[in-house]
């Protein structure tokens, strides 16, 4: 434990960086250069802060730590309340880790409005971390929705040709979710009189209201995940976003929906969660199978990976709502792992995009010859994405399926087919881009990874393998908080809905004593 407000410092440090960057004056070239350095240092410093917090974090406790609480909107009893537990800490680390990666990835690539770009990224970082440390629902909401603004800008200003369409679509989908969530938040407040999340997690909300609240929050989180059928904004957003935008979008922003389920839906509305469990399961299965098949026929590298993200997030929602230890821990692990793997995959797409300015799969082929290092890195990431044991991708996926199998074997069997489809589309992508006939001369004259790119990708690759071989580094710290969540969930959903328990459709096993 530490005796200074580490969470606030960490959250607002990037904003301090923004202020400094705003103060940078001079001619354009110099400003760009200084801004980049400033942004990088600030984000690295934030990451160092996050690591420091991690070393002081007590992994055996399920309680919120580094708690800060002070009065904010006094007449309403809304507090400025922050804290970290085993569930949120790794999302903070992930955000703080990926931001400098993104800034570095944009180093030589973003050439217009460099200053604004870096500001957008630092604001984004601040809001992301804020989302994961907030323990007051209003504070959470502000950060959670605030994230969209810098993201809009990143897509809209530095994006591709159809950026306006994509931004509009992104806006429309998320707006729908946001409004409903806000209404839900108001209703929650008027029912309980508090917006304090730890308090709400203990509160008993009447079942009738729970259903409506669950749906309102679900709308927002499902769009963010994104779940089928509100996923169509994601491929477009990814395709138009610059590389750094895609990395952070896939790496962190998609996890906010899952985090929301863990912080709101499951603990606050346990009865409703149990009631809607089949609904979520089947949406997840559709997401896994449907988007995997769609990924199979994509011609655009980014679209393919975007669709694969939807499928992977399908595993996450499936795992979380099994409400089993393995399912939830697997879901969390899958989110972290996917953040690393898909982030790195988008970096990889960025590498060849920077050289050839196209994402069309058929424009590449046979580049293993001229880019052997790239081929190796891409191979490991591809294997992580298909969930090969020994990579982080396997641990999450397997635990989710294990959790699902305990609840409903049919659901698990359907979801497990995603493992086959996942291999199909990723191998096909790899084969068409890296192997395959060598027909495009410009693709064959591309240079291999330079030091900057290697410096970005190698740490990610090492993390992916390390977490695949020793996941307990993460799992052990997650599990106290997850156990607490599950204990609470079971205690409360069992008490209040006796008759509805059957609807959870637990496939019981008769012989087990």
């Amino acid at each position: 434990m530490v005796d200074f407000p580490v969470l606030s410092l960490m959250t607002f440090l990037p904003l301090v960086g923004v202020l400094i960057i705003l103060a940078i004056r001079g001619d354009e070239e110099v400003v760009a250069q200084n801004t980049k350095h400033m942004a990088l240092y600030v984000s690295l410093f934030t990451f160092a802060f996050a690591l420091f917090m991690f070393t002081r974090f007590d992994g055996t406790s399920a309680e919120f730590q580094f708690v800060e609480q002070s009065s904010w909107l006094k007449p309403l009893g809304i507090n400025y309340h922050m804290g970290v537990d085993g569930i949120s800490i790794f999302f903070i680390l992930l955000s703080a880790f990926l931001t400098p990666v993104c800034i570095l990835s944009a180093w030589d690539v973003v050439k217009t409005r460099v200053k604004e770009f870096m500001i957008a990224f630092l604001v984004l970082e601040s809001f992301m971390i804020g989302t994961f440390v907030a323990l007051d629902a209003v504070l959470f909401y502000v950060f959670f929705e605030g994230v969209l603004i810098p993201m809009f800008l990143i897509i809209g200003v530095w994006g591709g040709k159809r950026r306006v369409y994509s931004a509009y679509k992104f806006f429309l989908f998320t707006l729908l979710g946001s409004v409903l969530m806000l209404v839900g938040l108001l209703a929650l407040y008027s029912e309980t009189g508090t917006t304090d999340m730890p308090t709400l997690m203990e509160a008993n909300i009447p079942i009738g209201l729970q259903y409506w609240l669950w749906l309102a929050f679900f709308a927002s989180f499902a769009v963010k995940m994104p779940m089928w059928p509100v996923h169509t904004w994601l491929p477009d957003a990814h395709v138009e976003a610059p590389t750094a935008g895609s990395v952070i979008l896939a790496g962190v922003l998609l996890k906010m929906g899952g985090y929301g389920f863990l912080r709101f839906s499951l603990p606050m509305f346990p009865d409703a969660s149990a009631f809607f469990v089949d609904f979520v399961f089947w949406l997840s299965i559709i997401a896994i199978i449907y988007t995997s098949l769609v990924a199979l026929v994509q011609e655009d590298m980014k679209k393919l990976i975007a669709y694969s993200s939807v499928a992977h997030m399908g595993f996450v929602t499936l795992g979380l709502f099994t409400a089993t230890t393995q399912g939830i821990e697997g879901g969390i692990f899958q989110m972290l792992s996917h953040g690393l793997i898909s982030g790195a995959l988008f970096l990889c797409v960025g590498v060849v995009y920077d050289r050839l300015h196209t994402r069309e799969i058929s424009r590449y082929g046979g580049i293993v010859k001229n880019m052997p290092k790239y081929a190796t890195v891409f191979m490991i990431l591809m294997l992580g994405s298909v969930g090969l044991p020994g990579t982080s991708g396997f641990v999450g996926e397997f635990l989710v399926l294990l959790g699902a199998f305990q609840v409903d074997t049919t659901v698990a069997a359907f979801a497990a087919t995603g493992v086959i489809f996942g291999a199909a589309y990723m191998l096909l992508l790899y084969r068409r881009v890296i192997f395959g006939p060598r027909v495009n001369d410009d693709a064959l004259s591309m240079k291999d990874l330079n030091m900057r790119e290697l410096g970005l990708l190698v740490p990610l690759v090492i993390l992916i393998i390390w977490l695949g071989v020793f996941p307990s580094v993460v799992m052990d710290k997650i599990s106290p908080s997850v156990e607490k969540l599950i204990t609470n969930y079971n205690a409360r959903s069992a008490v209040s809905i006796e008759p509805a328990a059957g609807s959870a459709q637990h496939d019981h096993l008769e012989g087990k004593q």
């Binding site: 909107l73 009893g77 603004i149 769609v294 199979l296 089993t324 497990a416 493992v419 199909a424």
Partner: protein
Amino acid sequence: MELLAVFLPLIAFAIAGLFGKKIGDKGCQFITCAAVIIAALSSISLFFNVAYGGTAYTTVLADWINSGDFHIKWALRIDTLSVVMMCVINIVSACVHVYSIGYMSHDEAKGRFMAYLSLFTFAMLMLVTSDNLLQLFFGWEGVGLASYLLIGFWNHKESANAAAQKAFIVNRVGDFGLALGMMAIFVIFGTIQFDAIFSQVPEMAETYFTFLGGEYHALTIIGLLLFIGAIGKSAQLGLHTWLPDAMEGPTPVSALIHAATMVTAGVFLVARMSPLYEFAPDALMVVTVVGATTAFVAATIGLTQFDIKRVIAYSTMSQLGYMFFALGVSAYGAAMFHLMTHAFFKALLFLGAGSVIHAMSDEQDMRKMGGIWKKIPITYGLMWVGSLALAGIPPFAGYFSKDIVLEAAWADGTWFGHYAYYMGIAAAFMTAFYSWRLLLMTFHGKPRASEKVMSHVHESPTVMLGPLVVLAAGALFAGMVFYQGFVGSAGHHGDDHGTAHVEAEHHGEEEHGDTHEPVVIHDEGAEVIHAAEDGEEEHHAEDFVLSKETFWNQSIQVLAANDTVEAAHNVPKWVKYLPLVMGLLGISLAYVFYMFRPNAPSVTVTSFKELHTLFYNKWFFDEIYHHVFTKTAFLLGLFFWKFGDKKIIDGYGPDGSASVSNKVANLMSRFQSGYVYQYAFMMMIAVIGLISWFVFKGSSAGGAL
């Protein structure tokens, strides 16, 4: 010792993979070969320590996954079953490593090739030394990866890439079953650690559980799910289509991965899970039928192929079928025996074929060979050894193992045991025929290759022939030497194979008392008794008698009622001799067809047109799968994308509402510049507006509360 045997190949892979450029091709070859040879020597030493009167043990390395009550550790389980596998893997791998120095000498990526071979060896060792199903799965997928990398090693060839991808995806279908089986085990047993599962099996024998909406016998479901994994990895009928295509890889790969080791992982899995399968007779029945059918079907295809490697590939598939039906009739020891001998003679055949291909300037079509036996006499002689072993001619290794497999199938006495026996006999006939068809077409007759190729035909260098000699020694002696240990009866150690036998009662009652007999769980009545409970551990050292029971030392378990290997020693004489007779007949027929009556093949083909078409086209599996699965998946993908996403979701969602709101938007175009700034800004205003409303509303509500 076991650390050396398992991790040296990994270290060699890491060095050759990461620093291959720095240490050069020679450095890579030296490091990988040295590592695997040391690993092989360690395995042999482990084998004699553990299998001949030693004890099994487990070395725990580190935690892997802990989640709730799901605990998995990285660990090495060293018992007879795993050391047998380790020996097979490391010895064949060492031979293949050394052989590859010669075979790949013209290739430009030698270092990478050696690194992949070592990676494969490591993954395979992890598979067989695992003490839980998850680590087994790690190795299982790891060998799949190595196989993928090596099949597609010549990645400038589209056909190699396609074959690699096919191998990975088809295997994934099998892995899907294996993963589900693993989960089912966890749900039923609460663990996936082998010892913990096995100790609970008898009490779980009558458990039922709900799977896919139906109520089933739990152990049968588990057995079948695991077997789906085995079908994929071991190329059994249904998921076999990847194996022939895998021949796109360099020949040493085919020898190591697609003949001797990886494809036997499925056999190993079932043998490892023998304590569970023993209580799932219906699952065993399926294993038998699938294995026997595969043995037959693969042999029929092998009769008609012209690519020398594909003939051997189908032969491998067929021999794996033998191993599976042996497992299915509870003759696990016999299956492992055949696995071991097959590894030697099949690796020998493949490497020999590689030597031929090397000599023929990379020609693989047997129609373009012939008349070369005088030019490459050593290869020719070694191919004879391999073929004799494969055809089951005494005293070669295949004779002992194939015979015990077939005898055990007969001795099982069930309809599927007999089915397996007859299928096996038919396959034995065809095996002998296509083996000699291969020998005669390749080496004898008039040369059918071009002058240029023929002038280049040369014997392979020592670095390639050396490993062949080692394997040939295995193909010659492994059967005789290890017969007693793998499948020998406790009452009759000695070379009395095929003659004497013991009465079942005699064996069951009397020997039980004085020979240490821990493998067999006697299932008398409903009771399950561990023979080892009799507490004669102290007699162990002095009374050590090599028999299958002492050899396996509980690493495989058989119910006494199912001990078909024991019963195999007592089958009628004709059952014992029929395989040999069929083998000799097959060889003779091949001589008639391909030496004395050269027009016989074409006459046969025309008179059995339909059958030949069926066999030659591999029973049309590829075509059917292509239409039913591959095409459908792509069509569905397109449909979901173009229709589901674009037409329905976007059409009625954002785009639909966009067109409606366009009119409104036009009115507001002053505010609506189309830039995201504006949206974001409006969004922020909306949020602030709502919050202020909320503050206002809230304060009054707060008053009301």
